[in-house]
């Protein structure tokens, strides 16, 4: 069995018994990338020298004994909107194609403290805007299950790299579903934590009130380990939550007896692929067999979530992306006549079409005369959407439904139709607006493409989400399937 098919504990046991070294793991990662990345294109930048040096240092520590970090020796890929000191961070944008960060994001510091090894930076939709990875300004990542299909977005590189066995785990960022939807399309586990649980310091901001970093892994137990390493208060992030961090790994006791599950009728209605619906209903049967109960519930404002999200996210994006002006970092246009032209030309040459579209939408929604009609209205509807979740969680422990209404779509199929592309996120966006945690786990296949089951919890109740996801995984085989590459 390839080392990346093993559970974290199994890898650690093999490291302890000297059956494997960290150098072996890192070599396996680059070997697999050399073998598969010409067809997948998950990576933008590799950290070969840095990773080999780190592996050698960790192997030395292994020989000497002593304490080992939670993620000791595990090869990791990092989405390219999370800054890494001395390692190119481009956000898959021409604007930042030469950007060499001067500091590490808090999550990168935490991964280093937990002793994982950074293999490289992963492809994404430019500035995390998109649902298919086709908006990367370098090249699109392809779905390892069928390279004619998208891997999802915007953490498509992060999901594809794990699915293809190129890295042991990866980090992604989720604004409206950007961890969960690519996890579903690529058949891996993707966790969006509660807003504020994981620091955003060093994540290049897209929509600050929604962005959240989380792990992509092959199984739920590994997801719990990575979350354990990432979670916690950070004074460098003013939206970081100062809450006690539970033991996520020990919470995986397999017990879901008596859990009350709500299944929103809006998530299984019109527009849902029949095979996706069938896979979700089969998953609910597994929960029934384990002693949980489920009932149909309603999140009545679901149909308003996509419009709300795109107004709010675009508005925040237009504000956040104002800092890209060609003065202090990034690419500057040649020979501008004056300062305004420097801004205008640098931004026009540096940003791709989807980024420009969202900046335009956001600027319009925030502009004088339209603020109340669009931005303020959307903020009020966000309250109604959040209340929908509060109402269901008053009576239920979890909400379960599909992660995406369909499996992955063909590359190029939706690229000229932004509204249709936005509607792929109908099941993930409401969760982001409410700020609650959710995980996507593999729950079946349709025509050879993976389907994701979304398990949503109360704010800061990641333990119940992970416990339920883990229990399901223990009684099914979907997560053990690997694409043939």
């Amino acid at each position: 069995m390839a080392p990346f098919d093993l559970r974290l504990q199994e890898v650690h046991n093999k490291l302890a018994s000297k059956e494997l070294s960290v150098t072996d793991l890192v070599q396996e990662s680059y070997r697999r990338i050399a073998e598969t990345d010409a067809s997948i294109q998950a990576f933008l930048t590799l950290n070969e020298d840095g990773a080999r040096a780190a592996a050698s240092e960790l192997d030395k520590q292994l020989q000497e004994g002593g304490e080992r970090g939670l993620l000791f020796g595990l090869p990791a890929g990092i989405k390219d909107n999370i800054v890494t000191e001395g390692l190119l961070t481009t956000c898959a944008s021409q604007f930042l194609r030469n950007h060499d960060p001067i500091y590490d994001a808090t999550v990168v510091k935490k991964l280093k403290a937990a002793q994982s090894v950074t293999i490289g930076k992963l492809n994404m939709d430019e500035f995390a805007m998109g649902g298919s990875n086709e908006n990367s300004s370098f090249y699109p990542t392809r779905n390892p299950w069928n390279t004619e299909y998208v891997p999802g977005g915007s953490s498509g590189g992060s999901a594809a790299a794990v699915a293809a066995g190129q890295v042991y785990f990866s980090l992604g960022s989720d604004t409206g579903g950007s961890i969960r939807q690519p996890a579903a399309y690529c058949g891996v586990v993707g966790l969006k934590p509660t807003y504020g649980l994981v620091s955003r310091f060093g994540l290049v901001a897209f929509a600050s009130s929604l962005d959240q970093i989380g792990p992509l892994t092959k199984n739920v137990e590994d997801s719990a380990y990575v979350l354990q390493a990432l979670a916690g208060y950070d004074e460098m992030d003013s939206t970081s939550a100062n809450v006690d961090i539970p033991d996520y790994v020990n919470a995986l006791n397999g017990d879901v007896k008596g859990l009350r599950i709500g299944v929103p009728k809006e998530y299984l209605g019109q527009g849902i692929d029949p095979k996706v619906k069938e896979a979700v209903l089969n998953a609910l049967k597994v929960y029934e067999s384990l002693g949980a109960t489920w009932e149909e519930v309603s999140l009545p404002h679901t149909e308003y979530a996509v419009a709300t999200y795109y107004l709010l996210a675009s508005s925040e994006a237009s504000s956040n992306l104002a800092r890209f002006d060609g003065v202090r970092y990034g690419v500057r246009a040649d020979n501008p006549d004056n300062l305004i032209e420097l801004y205008r030309k640098s931004r026009s040459q540096g940003f791709g079409p989807e980024v420009k579209r969202r900046i335009m939408l956001g600027t319009y929604a925030l502009s004088s005369g339209y603020y109340d009609a669009y931005y303020l209205k959307a903020q009020k509807v966000r309250t109604l959407i959040k209340q929908d979740f509060d109402n269901v969680f008053a009576n239920y422990d979890l909400i379960i439904g599909p992660t995406a209404p369909t499996p992955a779509f063909h590359i190029g199929e939706q690229v000229n139709d932004p509204l249709t592309m936005y509607l792929n996120d109908i099941c993930t966006i409401p969760v982001s607006l409410a700020g609650v945690p959710a995980i996507s786990v593999p729950c079946g296949f349709a025509d050879g493409l993976p389907i994701g089951l979304q398990i949503i919890g109360k704010a800061f109740d990641e333990t119940t989400v992970l416990r339920a996801a883990h229990a399901y995984e223990q009684h099914t085989e979907h997560h053990k399937q690997r694409p043939q590459l």
């Binding site: 009130s209 600027t363 319009y364 009020k380």
Partner: protein, 95 residues
Amino acid sequence: MSITVKDVEHVANLARLELAEQEKEQLTVQLNAILKYAEKLGELDTDHVEPTSHVLPVTNVMREDRVRESVSVETAMKNAPDEEDGQFKVPAVLE
């Protein structure tokens, strides 16, 4: 409410974007489609609903006021497209 190419030009100016003619026309069509879709929010009565700007109840977050080392000028300038004597260089603002 529908927006015109002239509106798109105005917003592009606010956003400091320079758009080609074809981009302007395409954005006019696409933004109209998205805004038309967004008009469905008007179906909801939100007169007595408080806006949510933040899902967590945190306010006035402050860090401890500590004196500490800052980054060096050299480090701050590392990614500058153009610099002179430790300062970011831009075209003249005043004639």
